[in-house]
Symmetry: C2
Subunit: 126 residues, 2 copies
Amino acid sequence: MGIIRKTKAVATVLQIFEEKDEAKSVVHLIELVKDKMNKTTVYRILDRLEQDGAIHSFNGKDGLKWYAKCEGCSASHHSDKHPHFQCTKCDKVECLPLEIKIPSIKNHKVDSTDILLIGQCEVCCA
Amino acid sequence: MGIIRKTKAVATVLQIFEEKDEAKSVVHLIELVKDKMNKTTVYRILDRLEQDGAIHSFNGKDGLKWYAKCEGCSASHHSDKHPHFQCTKCDKVECLPLEIKIPSIKNHKVDSTDILLIGQCEVCCA
DNA sequence: AAATTAATGCAATTGGGTTGCAATTACAAA
DNA sequence: TTTGTAATTGCAACCCAATTGCATTAATTT
Ligand SMILES: [Mn+2]
Ligand SMILES: [Mn+2]
Ligand SMILES: [Zn+2]
Ligand SMILES: [Zn+2]
């Protein structure tokens, strides 16, 4: 079970994801709200928002955890299975609205995929 | 620059990768050789072996760092760009000798990919 | 064999993330 | 509105992978 009470801290975190459709690392999020709440609270709120299907998490290239807004997910069904893109110049991370075909692997059962493309984003490419 | 001197510790670590063609987490490697060398030494040897193109690293689903033997890589050219597979039952990780097609992304330049397939391995499938 | 310096051991430290518990606060029931 | 309750938060301590500084050891060169 995720968010039950709409606290100020929850609203603050949610607004960050509403404002701009861009993934954020937990480390960055903690920095952003460090005057408003404790880091433990940030971790717990992110956990609950993910359980509710409001945001989804994945690992960046450095192994840090990142979160981004979900599109059409719910507590019962997380449908975000897209790849992510991380820029080596500016470190920005984007959700990629595309599907990558995974060939079936003999004698293996693939339940989920974790795909990170690394390179240069639109801004840094130019 | 990677390995310069062939020490006993280097030989020990290398042999682990020669023996069996299977990826190993750093945590597991440290455990395997804990009577023979310090954990710092393990980290440093892995760094140097990777620089030399003898092994390559990637992140497992839990965020831990894993290493596996390289095939045809050298210090100047790391050609290992394959996906990896991690079993949710037994935690084993394999290098997958297959290529996954990445569609080109508008205004982005993709330099490398980090693909982890998660599911059940051959043994755990049966 | 002696000199050089890469490699190692060890203790301390860093940093992301978690846990236990007391204090606070949202919210529903009265 | 007031009260009761349990969800939420703050805080300090902790966990653990990974890194760092530095003195010591050992591989390789001369
Ligand atoms: Mn996403
Ligand atoms: Mn591999
Ligand atoms: Zn960029
Ligand atoms: Zn398995």
